[in-house]
């Protein structure tokens, strides 16, 4: 019978034999019977389409079947069939003439040069979030020639994004951020590959997604994802280029760099839920993510090139109003539960639980009242006090009819302006702050309370579109 010699690494799929004897008239028949008898072997030899894989050559004795009859090549009982790999390669990630011209301002600096530009081309960077920070990051890293850039996002472009998320344009509103961003990046540099991960990063998928990349860049705006990215980076040993923004201030540093601190060394515990407002709640100067994002992009490129002093063990603090940049020293905490000397966290945990937030929007509570019901009661002439707990500058943007402005922060000292006998309906922009106001008033002894669910946003959607959303 013809004998098929099995290469060492494939012997595990054929019961550790170094050769297998199979009867058959042609090479095709032999391979078919072989992978029929040993199904695990099949995917190593054949692609999903059933074709021999590109790196597989078949020899009958000393002849390559490509020069005989390919898989129809006849075999004799005394023949020996060999499975021979096809191997080639070389340093040439080779920049094309177009790329050499494109990157010429990099190439003429000795710190980058051909070596460095090839490192950039070989590099794989994952950007978590294609929003404020993600915009400059994606644009500049694409332009710099980072060969493979992954994006993680599941959002669509909203009008309120355009004030700062410069990778998206007005005509992109309603499109997936991934598509809009990838298109802009490839328009700048068609030589790169953009991987689109349309998902919310989670404890289930994070290690799988991050594993393929060399550098992870955190452009997220919430605590659960921040801790998740941090822990995943520490567990995988990948640097985490961190940035965060709020109102006029931003921070940046590199976490999880060998020997350096991680996010947990800086903040062991998340703040109580609701204490630190998000950009959606507190606002952000549109230019701010431009500056912090480009700091992150710079650090990413430095890490890839291995040049300069990385922003490790230093937290950069930027204040746009005073136009000052300060630095805080950070140290790795030997007691850190993830990157310390005796780590207690060795796998990803439930980060929503850790941060005390529920991922889903909270359902209606007994205090809630829907916007159209408030309108009905207004029209009916019911007696109630409508309290707007937003800030005065928000009150200037828009207001509901006959509302009384008492900002949430002033409520404790102005609570005597309200009467427990009267029904009070509180509202804010989205319903979050007014829920806190209701909570406060309830503890202060008020009982006839209602929270306008969804706030101004719901009012604009369901009652009166002339009230602008912001």
């Amino acid at each position: 019978m013809p004998k098929i010699l099995i290469p060492t690494p494939l012997r595990q799929y054929v019961e550790k034999q170094d050769s297998v004897e199979i009867d058959g008239a042609t090479v095709g028949e032999l391979l078919d019977k072989l992978s029929g008898a040993y199904p695990d072997l099949r995917r190593h030899l054949f692609s999903d389409e059933g074709k021999l894989r590109s790196f597989v050559n078949i020899y009958v004795n000393d002849e390559d079947i490509r020069y005989l009859g390919r898989e129809a090549t006849a075999v004799q009982p005394a023949d020996t069939i060999s499975i021979v790999p096809s191997v080639a390669g070389g340093a040439s990630a080779a920049l094309s003439h177009e790329e050499i011209l494109r990157y010429s301002r990099h190439l003429i600096m000795p710190e980058v040069g051909m070596d460095g530009q090839l490192k950039l081309k070989q590099a794989k960077v994952l950007l978590i979030g294609a929003g404020g920070l993600g915009s400059p990051l994606a644009l500049y890293l694409a332009a710099a020639g980072v060969g493979r850039i992954g994006l993680v996002d599941f959002d669509v472009v909203d009008v309120t994004n355009l004030q700062r998320q410069i990778i998206h344009g007005t005509s992109d509103v309603g499109r997936k951020k991934l598509d809009s961003a990838a298109e802009a990046m490839l328009e700048i540099n068609p030589n790169i590959q953009v991987d689109r991960h349309e998902t919310a990063l989670s404890s289930e998928n994070a290690l799988h997604i991050l594993r393929d990349y060399d550098v992870i860049v955190d452009g997220t705006d919430n605590f659960p994802t921040r801790y998740l990215v941090n822990d995943a980076c520490v567990l995988l040993g990948k640097p985490n280029v961190y940035g965060s923004i709020f109102r006029f201030e931003g921070q940046a540093t590199v976490f999880a760099y060998p020997g350096g601190p991680c996010y947990r060394c800086l903040y062991a515990e998340p703040p109580p839920p609701g204490l630190v407002p998000s950009c959606a709640e507190g606002g952000v100067l549109g230019i701010l993510p431009g500056l912090i994002g480009t700091v992150q992009a710079t650090e990413t490129v430095k890490l890839i090139l291995g040049i300069g002093q990385p922003l490790v063990g230093r937290l950069l603090l930027y204040d746009a109003l005073s136009m000052r940049i300060r630095e805080l020293k950070l140290r790795r905490d030997p007691e850190c539960p993830v990157c310390g000397d005796h780590p207690t966290i060795r796998e990803l945990i439930d980060y929503h639980q850790f941060c005390g937030v529920t991922p889903e929007e909270a359902g209606p509570t007994e205090w809630d009242i829907e916007a159209p019901d408030v309108k009905t009661r207004m029209d009916r002439g019911d007696r109630f006090v409508l309290v707007d707990v937003r800030e005065p500058h928000e009150y200037q943007i828009c207001r509901l009819p006959n509302s009384r402005l008492i900002p949430l922060g002033d409520l404790p000292k102005r609570v005597n302006e309200l009467d427990t006998a009267e029904e009070i309906i509180a509202h804010c922009r989205s319903g979050v702050r007014s829920a806190k106001a209701i909570d406060f008033l309830r503890k202060a002894g008020f009982r006839k309370l209602r929270n306008l669910r969804g706030g101004i946003l719901a009012w604009s959607d369901k009652v009166d579109p002339r009230v602008p959303k912001y």
Partner: protein
């Protein structure tokens, strides 16, 4: 993990220095043990790439078939392929990946100005889309002052 014996390592380095500034390539024979692969013999093979060999190599399948027969005769296994990157880092390039074979360790030797600089080992996947770094132990590590 893959560990290279001194004689095999010297054969590889000597080969890489000799072919500089062109790339060299060859086969590594040894044994697969529970702890990893142990390379005891390196077989220099001809770079068959038709074109500029400063940044490309190609192995003839016949040569690999011959190397595999050498292995069988010596009761060894063909465990890996090595090649050099003259004057650049020992990364696993897109070209390396697209022409790789998932059955073997791929050792890349960085040769700068004709002298050994550093080395890496890689394990490509079957789809040729990804290569994971493999721990590499070689005799030059003790005297080497690691450059990043």
């Amino acid at each position: 993990m893959i560990k290279i014996d001194k004689p095999a390592w010297e054969t590889m380095l000597d080969h890489a220095r000799r072919t500089y500034p062109s790339e060299c390539c060859g086969a590594m024979l040894g044994r697969v043990e529970a702890t990893g692969k142990a390379v005891s013999l390196a077989i220099p093979l001809e770079n068959a790439y038709q074109g500029c060999q400063r940044e490309r190599y190609e192995l003839r399948p016949e040569d690999l078939l011959w190397a595999d027969r050498q292995a069988r005769e010596r009761q060894l296994d063909l465990v890996g392929i090595y090649h050099s990157h003259p004057d650049c880092a020992a990364y696993f390039s897109e070209t390396d990946l697209k022409n790789s074979c998932p059955w073997y360790s791929f050792i890349v030797l960085s040769i700068r100005r004709g002298e050994f600089d550093h080395a890496t080992s890689w394990l490509p996947n079957v789809e040729q889309t990804q290569a994971d770094p493999e721990e590499l132990i070689h005799p030059a590590q003790e005297q080497q002052c690691q450059k990043s």
